[in-house]
Symmetry: C2
Subunit: 419 residues, 2 copies
């Protein structure tokens, strides 16, 4: 089965709105073994839209559209599908009653224009929209289908999960797709590419390499008749990858994030955390605050921007006088101070130079991380050469992965990438 | 002139990599008055790619492609353009010398496969790539052009700005496009849509409405023979919008962000800022840390997650005992305490309930913001009904806009949206 995705809306062609629906649908289709051949974005122009839909209807087994199901005269997805099928749209009494009910709930009568949201063509079924007024269409003829879904992500995503994905899966009962995502940190994309080059030749499982905020991801996808068989294809590849690049390089799998690893490690050990951060400017606290149960393990973070304020937060001013604030020894002291300040079991700290370097501090991108628990302290230092925005988020990722290692009694990883 | 954008690469069809090039190019083309009719994503399959490029060549005056210019056998953009033009690719001696030079600089010989990056067809010119090995192609015949650019954003964006955009502009000397973006907060998208509905009928200037993280944006685009004439079209529309929705609703224009407004306000007044935040969990500090000159005005932020730790940061424990921590009075005290803790002129604070509400605290989404300067304090309270992730970033936006008003001696805005 080959599929095509069409995202509809003039705002998508103005560059104002980034189309997140087509990557969402493409990733979802990959999970259920459907190959996407084309993705098209088209505006609300009736002629162009009709041409794109007719072409999709000719060439693709399954066409998924998003957008253009609203009530206005610019919303032309239904009309275009009706034209491609050569069928007439008629108002469906049951859909109209439901739609009027939705408006009644909101306390006002249905505008006349919304009536077209209650129409169907003979070859189409209505798909419920649990989060908006526009139902979807499942239009099918001669074994090919066009599925029209609404544009807003909060409407299309639940509609996909509840009604569309299960229906497509049921039509492909003999295809099982499994994926395994290995998340690495410490080796560059080029380095991994070279080390693993024979594995990239494999078609099934297929191995992809993706550069992400939190490192390089290696993603294996296998296709087979059953889940078990697909896993049997993937497992030897994972073993081989781990053998070649070394287990230590892989910090997580699948949906793991550095934040969630730290959160689950702290929660399972019943430990609390205090942070002191200058380099990351609050990002470390902000990332951890988004994790589940953060209010139980996170005491807080002292975001301290000026050296002279560090002493107010419990760092020995003599130490800063002696070493300056950008220093591994000070990072350890900051971690200790954070632990005390927030009455926590574990302390962590990141200090470094984002702007305005001095001779003593080293260049922009120099950073030091400290970790403290009981009488144990540990630190690591390094230098990033990259743009300002990414400096902070890389440091946040790295500090979180460093904390995971510290909690396991391992030494911190080097901050510089191996080729 | 009508244009078409093609993003090339199988990873784009897997949903793994979000295509940022086509929104970038679409927005850039809009700025120079070129209308985008189609955007297509296609994989590295030779047949499908060739079909997409041939179709674009038939129907569009200007086709912009990104991706597929690498050295591997999967990189087929050049071959597909050559086929569409019916021309033969030949190696260009000058390009080859340049390419070999790039590899020599890196200290290794050019792999044989890279030779195709030094080819052209008779109808194409080479476009320099100042950030990679793959030059672009400007292929033109019978007044229509296909422009092939590399996929990595750090290569395509400077290539566009230095070589492609000026060349397209030179072909449209009589078109001036100006845009004006009015950024609002406090009225819902539906509310603005209704209030401004007659203005949305206008074709030139065209008014768009976009829901963004920091509120609803109203963007007017005008097209005329000169910049002055285009501004004359936009100005009356801006006046009309301001008259209808009220000046207070518009917090910024064009490239303004809440962070940058706060930063420039504080810098110009020579004021420093201290923050205490529980609800926003470090996001407020993190957003401000990214602004220019932040190290000069930002003292720091105390991210305090547990009530019992507030007293360590200078908040009167008696006050929390009396009112609880989720309270406007406490928000004002936190702002005062932040000012002292970071030895700052201005203090701000955000407290509220992100999880685990109690009877006294109010429901999830309840929040209170406090501002302090000298003996002045001010606060505002409200409730957001939305998902957890957006709670924090909305609160950060709102607190920053509140601070801008506080610094101007205005009362804070209400936290609830007007319809």
């Amino acid at each position: 089965m080959n599929a095509e995705i069409i995202s509809i809306g003039t705002e998508l062609l103005m560059g104002e709105l980034v189309d997140t629906n087509s990557p969402f649908l493409a990733a979802e289709l990959a999970k259920i073994g459907v190959e996407v051949r084309w993705v098209t974005k088209v505006g609300d122009d009736p002629e162009l839209l009709r041409e794109v839909i007719e072409r999709a209807w000719e060439r693709s087994d399954l066409t998924l559209t998003s957008g253009g199901l609203g009530p206005t005269s610019d919303d032309l997805t239904r009309e275009s599908i009706a034209a491609a099928f050569g069928e007439k749209m008629t108002v469906q009494e049951d859909l109209l009653v439901h739609l009027k009910g939705l408006f009644a709930e909101r306390g006002f009568p249905m505008p006349e224009t919304n009536i077209k949201q209650a129409t169907l063509i003979p070859s189409a079924e209505s798909i419920p929209n649990d989060h908006g007024t526009a139902p979807g269409w499942w239009a099918e003829k001669d074994g090919r289908a066009i599925v029209a879904m609404p544009g807003p992500p909060r409407e299309i995503q639940p509609m996909w999960a509840s009604y569309i994905s299960p229906k497509i899966k049921a039509q492909n009962p003999d295809v099982a797709i499994v994926t395994r995502n290995l998340k690495t940190f410490g080796i560059s994309e080029g380095g991994l590419d070279e080390m693993l080059s024979p594995l990239f030749q494999s078609k099934n499982p297929y191995l992809g390499i993706y550069s992400k905020q939190d490192g390089i991801h290696l993603r294996a996808i296998a296709k087979a008749a059953t889940d078990d068989e697909a896993w049997e294809l993937i497992r030897p590849m994972e073993t081989e990858i781990r053998r070649i690049i070394g287990d230590g390089v892989i910090w997580g799998v699948d949906d793991d994030t550095p934040e969630n690893l730290v959160a689950s490690r702290l929660r399972s050990k019943g430990l609390t955390l205090g942070i002191m951060e200058s380099f990351t400017g609050g990002l470390l606290a902000s990332n951890l605050a988004e994790t589940k149960g953060s209010s139980r393990f996170l005491g807080g973070s002292a975001v301290v921007y000026r050296d002279d304020l560090l002493s107010r937060h419990g760092v020995d001013p003599g130490l800063i006088e002696e070493y300056g604030s950008t220093n591994a020894r000070v990072a350890e002291e900051m971690a200790r101070a954070a632990r005390k300040l927030f009455d926590a079991d574990v302390g962590m700290a990141v200090t470094g130079i984002v702007t305005e370097p001095t001779e003593a501090s080293g260049p922009v991108g120099t950073l030091h991380m400290g970790f403290a628990m009981g009488d144990d302290v540990s630190s690591t230092s390094g230098h990033y050469a990259t743009s300002r925005l990414r400096l902070r988020s890389r440091a946040s990722t790295h500090a979180l992965l460093g904390l995971v290692r510290f909690l396991s009694g391992l030494p911190p990883q080097s901050l510089s990438l191996r080729r």
